[in-house]
Assembly symmetry: C2
Homo-oligomer: 207 residues x 2
């Protein structure tokens, strides 16, 4: 990696961490400069403003999320296993999530109050995750409407669990509630399995 | 109301609105001064800092929430009807909630990143609502564990719906998802009704 590219990466990494741990508005451009440990001129060579860095942070998050979802798709041929990956990933981050909330949810909440441009930065990231969740339920045999509803339920509950756990700064609460999401996926898996077994072949009394 | 008290009220009201529409960190003390329309000296006579106003904003929210919940308790002897009040109240605020998110959730998310003192300001307010929700499910015949779980599910889903609706700034999405919460309450009402009818009196074949 070239040095300029390395510097650019370090800026994005610092800003991503500070926006997460402090919030976007509480993080000053000078905080980022200090955290990266380079001169202000070195930073402004790559990014003119905090808003420019924000856009790059979102691009980075999109890329990382896309890669993670693609990895789960590749490693697990079964959609239920992929949904468990999504949930286990939340469980793995429990101490950070209970302390600072969801990185995407809290940033979206904060930016969502601002002007339309800033507000809409979060949408592609949420859309990527929502669409991935829905496609897993589609694979499991749900109708498009059902799949969208289930994806939205899983997504909203995950976000809400992050909000409540952060209020109480309580990992145990986080863990307990996230495990309810596992039950939701397991129940759906069982009910879809039962539905598929209801074919005329195993129920010769019908038809 | 005395003039000093009126001024104090106006400051809290302005700050409450600005913290909601812009966020706490984005709102400067001078924004509040400008919004109230009085001199800075007039404001600092009542509140020394933005943090002092924040504490008063939380006190006001606690008081308003306590009064609203007490009113629903008084007006509706049936717990399911009270839970519908809670949900209908969200539906009534849909355009603001889809634009700025939940006033309590977004402020908690933002302050939750800060030091412990600021972080814990939200807890009593969340605890008040969570406890009220659980007490409704208890009244409906749930065990303490069930009631706490249902309260937490309703609360987290409500919060998550606010996050997602704000991301998309979409009232229709908000309405659709909140109506799922009505189904949750209705299903619980039906299942509790069925359980109660399962007494030995109506099932003489048992015992």
């Amino acid at each position: 990696m070239k040095q300029g590219e390395q510097t650019r990466n370090n800026i994005i990494k610092s800003a991503n961490k500070l926006f997460y741990q402090q919030g976007f508005h509480k993080t000053a451009f000078s905080d980022i400069v200090r955290d990266v440990g380079l001169s202000k001129g070195n930073i402004t060579y790559h990014f003119k403003s905090k808003e420019d860095i924000l856009t790059a942070v979102f691009e980075r998050r999109m890329e990382k999320t896309r890669n993670t979802l693609a990895l789960w798709d590749k490693e697990h041929p079964e959609a239920t296993a992929r949904l468990y990956c999504f949930i286990d990933n939340l469980l793995e981050g429990k101490s950070e999530l209970a302390r600072y909330g969801c990185p995407n949810g809290t940033l979206a909440s904060e930016l969502g109050k601002s002007n339309a441009l800033t507000r809409e930065l979060s949408q592609p990231l949420f859309e990527l995750i929502r669409h991935w969740l829905a496609s897993q339920f589609l694979t499991l045999g749900s109708s498009t409407e059902q799949a969208n509803n289930l994806a939205m339920e899983l997504f909203t509950r995950g976000q809400g669990i992050c909000v409540l756990s952060q209020v109480y700064n309580d990992e145990k609460l986080f863990e307990h509630e996230i495990n309810q999401l596992k039950k939701l996926v397991a129940l759906h898996h069982i009910s879809k399995g039962l539905e598929m077994n209801k074919s005329p072949l195993v129920r010769p009394d019908i038809g």
